[in-house]
């Protein structure tokens, strides 16, 4: 056996040992554009960390929640990183289901995270998930239709103005609806918008004693306003429309205004998909003159379940995916307009991003205006802007959403729906032990 053979054997053994020690991270995520982009860029991470391999599990949003909840609750250990919303993070952190992210590295700039987003992902001063992208809600409107109607969007529009403008620019013959809003039932669909709307009308889900507030005048005023406006200026079949349906309508020039997640701005301003890309203006979520702009705040975040045995490697990946360097990586490969928005202050100070993304300033304004610790002008016992951060909200929100969607479809009245919502909410909150 000569030296060359010996060396070759030793190298092969070393290589095999290297592979044997390589850790594989299993990451559960949803099929959003930014997540798909991240999957495509994984090589950058594995090249820098050859001892870590990455496998992706992409699931439908609700299946992902159910799968991950089952796995974490039973300590199945199937996932090393999970993609979850800022609704789940505080609830799961309190349950001890998530690992505190204290191993993101010295270079990781935590202070650069937008304060509102960071606050929603922290418990007792510890970060339990790192934001991958974030969003608030704002008005996207057609500047050409506004000009034609002789309207000017104010810096801080009121709902009264929005209602009038929606009716004025509606042109059924030309297939233009004054406003498109979510109507599809679901806690993350119509109830996200209606909760933010009610916040801006001065309403709230629960008072300080967890008593449901659907019997209060604010809910009646906001729901009636929504239904009337949609009847006069909304698209046909609006009770089936969610984010995706309204996105299509707006991109095809069939909506004068669309009030929804800020992340939509990058879709409607993309000339490859949108026929109105160069005609879109942006404005802050309306209020009723009370300074409350709905407090909509959502982020998709990466977290490490307590059942993972690879927490250290998982935090390395999270640090890579949510750091400033990742933003620059995406920008270099796919352009600044495609970087994940809504998580870092530095991105909004970046001149190149501001140039590539005309919606950057209104997005930041919307996110800065959101305070999930004070969603209503009245005191509340919960946190959350367009949701209530309690475990019962998913089920309750969807049930109430079905009642309100039925009102929009003309199957019941505002009063009946509110009365039923109040009865159901009282029953559920009593059963869950919030109301003694």
């Amino acid at each position: 056996m000569n030296l060359r053979t010996l060396m070759l054997g030793a190298s092969t053994a070393a290589l095999l040992c290297g592979f044997a020690h390589a850790e594989t991270l299993t990451i559960a995520t949803v099929n959003n554009g930014d997540m798909i982009r991240m999957q495509g860029l994984t090589d950058d991470f594995t090249t820098k960390n050859p001892d870590i391999q990455v496998e992706w599990v992409t699931l439908e949003e609700n299946v992902l929640r159910e799968r991950v909840t089952t796995d974490i609750a039973t300590k199945g250990g199937q996932y090393d990183i999970v993609t979850i919303g800022n609704y789940e993070v505080p609830i799961w952190a309190k349950q001890g289901w998530l690992v505190a992210l204290d191993g993101l590295g010295d270079d990781y700039d935590v202070d650069d995270l937008l304060p509102a987003i960071r606050g929603g992902l922290s418990l007792d001063g510890k970060l339990y998930a790192a934001p991958f992208y974030g969003e608030s809600a704002m008005i996207m409107y057609r500047k050409d239709l506004f000009e034609k109607a002789g309207l000017t969007m104010p810096d801080s529009p009121t709902w009264e103005f929005i209602g009038e403008a929606a009716r004025k620019i509606t042109d059924r013959d030309a297939d233009v609806n004054g406003i498109c809003l979510r109507g599809k039932a679901g806690w993350g669909e119509n109830m996200a918008f209606l909760t933010a709307l009610d916040n801006s009308f001065g309403g709230r889900w629960f008072d300080e004693n967890w008593q449901p507030q659907f019997d209060q005048p604010e809910w009646k005023a906001s729901l009636q306003f929504y239904v009337d406006m949609m009847k006069d200026a909304g698209p046909q079949g609006a009770s089936s429309n969610g984010f995706n349906e309204n996105l299509t309508l707006f991109q095809q020039g069939k909506c004068g205004m669309w009030i929804d997640a800020t992340v939509a701005a990058s879709f409607v301003s993309n000339p490859n998909d949108s026929t109105v890309a160069d005609k879109v203006g942006y404005a802050i979520f309306p209020d009723t003159g009370n300074g409350n702009h709905g407090h909509w705040l959502w982020s998709w975040n990466l977290a490490v379940p307590a059942s993972s045995t690879k927490a250290e490697a998982a935090q390395k990946f999270i640090s890579w995916a949510t750091d400033k360097a990742y933003t620059e990586l995406v920008a270099s490969k796919e352009g600044w307009a495609n970087v994940p928005p809504g998580t870092r202050t530095s991105l909004y100070k970046n001149a190149e991003y501001q140039k590539a993304a005309p919606f950057a300033a209104p997005t930041l304004a919307a996110m800065d205006a959101a305070d999930i610790t004070k969603p209503s002008v009245k005191p509340v016992p919960y946190t959350g802007g367009q949701f209530v951060a309690i475990p019962e909200f998913q089920s309750l929100g969807t049930t109430v959403g079905q009642l309100f969607s039925a009102v929009l479809a003309g199957q019941s009245s505002v009063d009946d729906a509110l009365a039923q919502a109040q009865t159901i909410a009282v029953r559920e909150m009593t059963r869950a032990g919030y109301i003694k």
Binding site: A28, V57, D71, V263
Partner: protein, 274 residues
């Protein structure tokens, strides 16, 4: 006159049969048509005229690996079917040819397990899989699919076996056939059409199972059902891509069903025509 009435009846029956077939097949047809549309077209509303673009197939192919989940589907559906037959043939034989007072109760009890909502046992099953290290393994999922389809397999085989005269088996026994020989050399050849159709139906059921296959797998054992669900998106258009993924997932089983339809129909009507 009688012939005219008979012909009219035949025509009506044919039209009704075609209508029913069209209604049943329509969701599959619409899925295929949607997969050939652009994303904005797909969400626009009802339309039977696609722009015949293949962009969704290209995206699906670029984004995800099709081969691994496809192979998992093949292994799981074939494996669970063979395992189910291995258990079900002797079980159905004993119930068909040596029934007791409790046989019918047992059969009904077996079928009643199918009436239980799967989600009700999700956590206990998940815990068992975790403790036995079966999560995300082909062997675990094969056992699971075998168990959930076993009642139907036993029931179908029991129905076919009941059509076979017991005297033939008795004659074999008198000629000195062992129990094994009786099942393998006498019963099985006579019940081939029934066993084949049971097999085919079980393969289809296992291929399409989407509750356990999504919930008990992550990356290694995930079949095509998990492949499909990965294309649903909360923010962004996805209907055309989802339809393309669904078409790719159902294509193999559709082709198999097309080529084996004679055996399938023969087996399914085996008891009725006797």
């Amino acid at each position: 006159m009688a012939r005219a009435v008979s012909n009219r009846r035949k025509t009506i029956a044919t039209i009704v049969a075609w209508l029913v077939a069209l209604i049943i097949f329509f969701p599959i047809l619409y899925t295929v048509l949607t997969s050939l549309k652009t994303e904005p077209e797909a969400i626009q509303g009802f339309s039977l005229v696609p722009s015949f673009t293949l962009e969704s197939y290209v995206t699906v192919h670029t984004q995800r690996d099709y081969f691994k989940p496809f192979m998992n589907s093949v292994v799981l559906s074939l494996g669970s079917t063979l395992l189910a037959l291995l258990v079900a043939v002797p079980a159905a034989w004993s119930m068909a040819f040596s029934p007791t007072r409790r046989t019918k109760d047992i059969l009904l009890w077996m079928l009643s397990t199918k009436m239980m909502p799967a989600v009700a046992v999700l956590v206990p099953i998940y815990l068992i899989f975790r403790d036995f290290g079966l999560l995300d393994t082909r062997i675990g999922l094969t056992i699971m699919l075998t168990l959930i389809n076993l009642p139907i397999v036993v029931w179908m085989l029991y129905t076919y076996f009941r059509e076979i005269p017991g005297e033939i088996l008795e004659a074999a026994r008198m000629d000195g056939a062992s129990l094994w020989g009786e099942i393998v050399y006498v019963l099985t050849p006579m019940a081939v059409p029934g066993i084949a159709s049971t097999m085919l139906l079980n393969i289809i059921l296992a291929w399409n199972e989407a509750f356990w296959t999504i919930r008990l797998t992550t990356t290694n054992a995930a079949p095509l059902t998990a492949f499909i669900t990965s294309f649903s998106s909360p923010q962004g258009l996805f209907w055309a891509k989802l339809s393309a993924a669904s078409t790719l997932a159902i294509a193999p089983i559709l082709i198999m069903g097309w080529f084996s339809q004679k055996q399938l129909v023969r087996g399914l009507t085996f008891g009725a025509v006797k």
